[in-house]
Amino acid sequence: MKYIDEYRDPQVARGIAAQIARCVTQSWVLMEICGGQTHTLVRYGIDELLPPQIRLVHGPGCPVCVTPLETIDKAIALAGHSDVTLVSYGDMLRVPGSRTDLFHAKADGADVRVVYSPLAALRIAARQPERKVVFFAIGFETTAPAHALTVQQAARERLLNFSLLASHVLVPPAIRVLLESPRNRVQGFIAPGHVCTVMGWREYEVLAKDFRVPMVVGGFEPADLLEAIRMLVVQLEEGRAEVENQYVRSVDRFGNLTAQRAMQEVFEVCDRKWRGIGLIPQSGLRLRREFAAFDAENIFALEDVAVQEPPECISAEVLQGLKAPTECPAFATRCTPEKPLGAPMVSSEGACAAYYLYRRHDVLCAK
């Protein structure tokens, strides 16, 4: 496949890995932020190609994983209303809330639908004016512009039976929290290529400067990630801490201004709780007051219920890169994709699920 196969070429991959091995002189801990990148790294076994000095840890960039338990409970509660059609991305259905998940809610008779695009939810609202259609809008800066455009279109078409249960999160505040933590061990970041396609990389320049940590905006194919790792190692070895861009075919410094404008028109920045991490100031997006008519939180007067994570789940450590999924005693035994204890075992972008799916043999053999 043109433009994909080139980035999966074994010769190219091995060539970059050899360059990394030549320039590394000491141990470095690197983190990729985005769950899509975690998925590629584990699926292709990129760590097997790297010299032993490079340790990869996985970041909090799985939108399904960091969506707070309370929000999932709200979605499940909404789906239970007999006049509500809850529309979601497929991944969200399996994530356990405090008591059940959306798949089970569906089996109990709730009207839950899976779509690829938020516009499909809008079409459902137009077709079924008697139903209240709620779109469960989660994701990073990547999905927010599409959700913003959907709300604008709903407003134009006066589809007042459509609303958004919005739980967007922003990447740079989360990186700041990780770097401020006294337990942080990450020395270089692969910045998320799709988020930067929308947002550009200006926000990351401040982080690189404040914390003296190099960042490379990386793509999602094996050669992209290896090249991003190489660029990080070169910076670390030379004592530099800059933002560089490996994903040049998609990202520039300023990002997609049209998308940013749509986001700003519809959403405003707010504090947000991240599952596994806690409250991060100014790290989320919520609908602006002008769009309150499309805000499910506003329409349905949803209560915040304090809920607790299963105590055995170490997703907090996993999402902050403090522990590998395989260090969890429940991994692949009491916690599996069929019976997940926490969200990282559910989503295909979750670090635990990626290790379970692709690398379980290493662990089982080691145990």
């Binding site: 076994g45 798949f103 692709y358």
Partner: protein
């Protein structure tokens, strides 16, 4: 991996919720389906023919070995590029018989119709079923009709049961894979699943992707004639190649090793899967087979498959091994290794 870890306080695990209801994922052909068979059906009906858990049961009647299988078809949309529910209801059952090496002979067809279904639709489906049966050389000898209230069915469901005869000397079963055996795949993966998905979701690709739905029994007969040392076969339908191979690995107590570079997938399916965030190893096929063949017969078997019109793109995609028992491991295009797991429920598209 086993580095000592700090700070985390461990406590008793929360009780895991028992599955008290049927979820859609129980019909995906993956791990949830397997659980259902293991926990509900097998204990209820246990007998030697069923315990083999192959695509068909083989029963011995006065020295004649009969293959019996049944399959229900609930596909939406009813008509799709490359086929429809009528032809699929023949091919699915014929292929389940063929995977046991049987010559398919007779078919039953039961129709569950939803009130309000157009007679024209029913005629088209029945005509297609008739033609598919005639093409496959199999007769529909009995049937049944039920009508359910509007809203209680998806237009039309079909169940077919097939009977065939297993030729003398043929004995295939998923517990017979042995280390060093070759794994053969008869052609590119994923055409059926992607054709259905594209039709259902209204997705259009540059070139139309057509279902591979086809009867495989003639290709199987040619294969067994050339290479009797075939140990077992599966048609990778729901759950795709990965489910079929995981079942063989589990039932034979062996490991399987695949080479990603040689697993055929068409450019169109590859692109669609990239776009949709799906993995072709899990996408359904309706006209493909995987065969486990003794190492010395592998090349002959490959030639036999390739000489048949439905197997022209056949490949040896890996081998059986004594290590990592019960697991399917893939050598990636980069030369690294990873597991090819059985899916838990349905394959879900990623968010970004």
């Amino acid at each position: 991996m086993s580095k000592r870890t700090d700070t985390i306080e461990l406590s008793c695990p929360v009780p895991l919720p028992a599955r008290e209801k049927i979820l859609l994922g129980h019909g995906s052909g993956g791990r949830l389906t397997a659980e259902l068979i293991r926990d509900i059906f097998l204990p209820a009906f246990r007998n030697p023919a069923l315990e083999r858990l192959d695509d068909q049961a083989i029963v011995n009647i006065s020295g004649l070995r009969l293959a019996v299988t049944t399959d229900s078809f609930v596909v939406n949309p009813l008509f799709f590029p490359g086929g429809d529910i009528g032809s699929l209801a023949v091919h699915g059952t014929v292929n389940d018989l063929a995977m046991g090496g049987a010559q398919p002979l007779y078919l039953s067809a039961a129709f569950i119709l939803e009130e309000g279904l157009s007679m024209e639709t029913l005629r088209r489906v029945v005509d297609s079923l008739r033609r598919a049966a005639a093409d496959a050389g199999i007769e529909v000898v009995t049937g049944d009709t039920k009508v359910v209230e509007k809203g209680k069915g998806d237009g039309l469901f079909i169940n077919t049961t097939g009977i065939g005869v297993v030729p003398h000397g043929v004995s295939l079963s998923s517990d017979q894979a042995r280390p060093d055996d070759a794994i053969l795949l008869s052609g590119p993966l994923g055409d059926h699943g992607i054709a259905i998905l594209a039709q259902r979701e209204g997705l259009e690709f540059e070139s139309e992707i057509r279902s591979d739905s086809a009867p495989l029994h003639r290709m199987v007969a040619a294969l067994l004639a050339e290479a009797p040392a075939v140990r077992c076969m599966r048609d990778p339908t729901r759950g795709g190649l990965s489910s079929a191979l995981n079942e063989i690995a589990a039932q034979s107590g062996v490991g399987l090793e695949l080479d990603e570079c040689v697993i055929p997938v068409s450019e169109a399916v590859k692109s669609a899967c990239e776009l949709l965030g799906l993995d072709p190893h899990y996408v359904a096929n309706e006209g493909k087979l995987v065969a486990i063949v003794a190492p010395e017969a592998a090349e002959k078997a490959l030639a036999a498959l390739r000489s048949h019109p439905l197997g022209q793109e056949a490949q040896i995609i890996g081998r059986v091994t004594a290590s990592h028992k019960g697991l399917v491991v893939l050598r990636t295009v980069l030369g690294t290794t990873r597991i090819v797991d059985m899916l838990s429920g349905d394959q879900l598209p990623r968010i970004c």
